[in-house]
Amino acid sequence: MVMKKRIKVLVTKVGLDGHDRGAKVVSSLLKEAGMEVIYLGMFQRPESIVKAAIDEDVDVIGLSYLSGEHLIFTPKIVDEMKKNNFDDVLLIAGGTFPAEDIPTMEEMGIDKVFRAGSLTKSIVDYIKDHVEE
């Protein structure tokens, strides 16, 4: 009998932006949806995020942005993942973005962008549908 694997998600913020309400709320609700959430909190660098994601062997990395830093840090994180050969996990982002930036972020390597105002179910369903059990 093989146990059904629990989905492991790393939730984090990168850089100096300190708006962590969204990251904390999402973490808490993903936990209630039965996932294991590694919460890294604020002030991370691309290197520390990818290192923690590797150590924890997560299925999903969730980035929370607010202050317009998404276009600066996303490519750096994706590069770091590629450098470590760790690009076979789901990379999602949540927060404050103009609609125009969403295709750009997807081109940069984000699998799915959730804007402010997203309901929890949309995030949970997306993760469950896209992580191989």
């Binding site: 100096l16 309400r21 609700l29 609609a99 804007r115």
Partner: protein
């Protein structure tokens, strides 16, 4: 027209009248206030059996100021229409300031970016990526000169939005520039946010350890009390607390708790309550429940008056007057169907004005997407102008006073706020609530509740969980981009300044700052001198941090350049 008909025909053919019938008979989803209080169907005199008008309500301008701090309210003077500006380099911000002031903005509001609030110079390794993204970084006196260039500091009222421990440096930079330009600082008008305690909850914990927050926050207050009598030296920021997801009574109770931390310290330093309390101001949120927000403001005014009189023994009426600015609730805005935000902002601004606000900042409709564009910024200002000049809401003081409902809700908010204040007392007071992270836990659990209300449809937000439509592909009035060139330019200038300044003069000034901090003196005078000697934000704060036993650099990446 043709399309509508086509759809109508289709609906009729399919017998699909369900939506229509449902919409016709629709009732409100909830009869609770935003903060979750059950409301009666109608409020009557029976809800107010023990009404004592003189004691609990009283005319505007009369203790306990429930109805407003001035007897004639807006007839005396309209509220200050502030729009917060902070973008790119000091020069970029200066340009936008001039633009708004030429379009009827009546106050100058500049906001620090994350790097400045954290106390980092523009050339700090953590800062270089983010300088100017969400505000402006003032690293040196040169930057402050650029920001204030050609602006008559003796005539304008400038609101400096720096909240963290870096407020001390901002104040020093502003005073130094004003003095160097020949102004008598005794006549400077304006305000500085200077509420480092609350700012730990906005992601600036490394820059705002509790003891240093109280020390530097109070230094600014004390300095201004003695040298800038027309300056409002703190804006206790309830708004940011509310943005964490808490209820209206929690907003007031936590805000008062933090205000009392500063008051207790100033009294400990030997100041009389009436010497400084008249310059205390607050920043309040206005959320979507119009009546609850008005009731909250009225309750806060009454409670503050009583607190100052009864607990602190204030005698000067001005000490008892709850003066506040409103920031419409950023967290009430969503990127779905973005134009709806303009309507939300207008209602929230209405609540602020009905509550008797002194100074108002309307969010821009595009805040949940990007920094405000020029068009959105102007639209926010226009929202205020329509309210002030077209709607007639400015004619009468406290127009909702005497409403059975609003008076009952005011009492309810007061009662609930007192309950929360008691909770804080039970965990050992505000400082203890902060130290033990009790307050963090309140914020976290309330924020989760708010999201669940949306998820379950207990609170409705158009475009989010009701009347949803497909996601927009573009932002209607365009997107504000931050020029990374000007920020890079600033970084280069900071490096150049550090290379060319007079090191001996700087060392002497920093030494004096360190000595003053060591001797528990007020550090603002020494900071002013160190600023003049081209000492930077990071250097000034880092020096004081070290005296208090904290690492020089809040991000613990760089070392102090001073070795004496």
């Amino acid at each position: 027209m043709g399309e509508t008909n086509e759809k109508a025909v289709q609906n009729t053919q399919e017998g699909n009248w369900d939506d229509y019938i449902k919409a016709y008979y629709e009732k409100p989803a909830s009869f609770k206030s935003w903060s979750g209080y059950d409301l009666a169907e109608i409020y009557t005199p029976e809800h107010r059996p023990d009404e004592n008008y003189k004691q609990n309500i009283a005319d505007a301008g009369t203790y306990p100021y429930t109805r407003g701090i001035h007897s004639n309210m807006f007839r005396g003077r309209l509220w200050t229409k502030r729009e917060v500006v902070g973008i790119g380099s000091p020069a970029d911000t200066h340009e936008r300031l001039k633009y708004l002031s030429q379009h009827g903005g009546s106050g100058l509001n500049t906001i620090a970016d994350v790097t400045y609030e954290m106390g980092l110079d523009a050339d700090h390794p953590w800062a270089v990526d983010e300088v100017g993204l969400t505000g402006v970084n003032i690293t040196s006196i040169k930057d402050m000169e650029t920001l204030t260039k050609d602006i008559p500091l003796d005539k304008v009222s400038w609101s400096l939005i720096t909240a963290s421990t870096a407020s001390s440096v901002t104040m020093a930079q502003y005073v130094a520039v004003a003095q160097d330009a020949g102004y008598d600082i005794g006549i400077l008008r304006g305000s500085i946010q200077n509420d480092p305690i609350h700012f730990r909850y906005c992601g600036f914990r490394p820059a705002c350890p509790l003891d240093l927050s109280i020390k530097l926050g109070s230094d600014v207050m004390e300095y201004c009390t003695k040298n800038l009598p027309k300056w409002y030296y703190t804006t206790v920021n309830m708004y940011d607390l509310r943005e964490q997801g808490v209820t209206a009574p929690q907003e007031v109770a936590f805000g008062f708790g933090i205000a009392m931390c500063y008051i207790d310290e100033l009294i400990r330093r030997g100041l009389d309550i009436d010497e400084f309390a008249p310059r205390f101001t607050f920043y309040v949120s206005c959320h979507m429940d119009i009546f609850e927000e008005v009731a909250k403001i009225r309750a806060a005014r009454r409670m503050w008056a009583r607190l100052m009189k009864e607990k602190y023994g204030a005698k000067d009426p001005r000490s008892m007057q709850f003066r506040f600015a409103v920031h419409t609730a950023g967290c009430s805005l969503v990127p779905q169907q973005p134009f709806n935000n303009m309507i939300r902002i207008a209602y929230e601004a209405l609540a602020a004005v009905l509550g008797g606000v002194q100074s108002l900042h309307c969010c821009s409709y595009d805040e949940p997407m990007c920094l405000p564009t020029e068009k959105a910024h102007l639209q926010a200002l226009r929202t205020q102008q329509i309210l002030a000049y077209e709607t007639g809401v400015t004619n009468v003081a406290d127009p909702l006073g005497g409403s059975y409902y609003v008076e009952s809700l005011t009492d309810k908010i007061e009662e609930e706020t007192l309950k929360v204040m008691k909770e804080v007392e039970d965990v050992g007071g505000m400082e203890e609530a902060i130290r033990t992270e009790w307050l963090d836990r309140q914020f976290e659990s309330e924020a989760v509740k708010r999201q669940k209300e949306l998820d379950k449809g207990e609170k409705l937000v158009v475009g989010v969980n009701v009347f949803t439509t497909e996601q927009e592909k573009t932002t209607p009035l365009g997107v504000q981009k931050v020029s990374s060139n000007s920020a890079k330019q600033q970084v280069a200038e900071v490096k150049e300044l550090k290379r060319t300044r007079d090191i001996n003069r700087l060392n002497d000034a920093v030494k004096r700052l360190r000595d003053d901090a060591n001797d528990s003196k007020n550090v603002i005078p020494a900071m002013i001198e160190a600023t003049r000697a081209s000492g930077t934000t990071g250097e000034l704060l880092g020096t004081v941090r070290e005296v208090f036993g904290y690492p020089y650099d809040p991000m613990e990446t760089i070392e102090s350049p001073f070795n004496f």
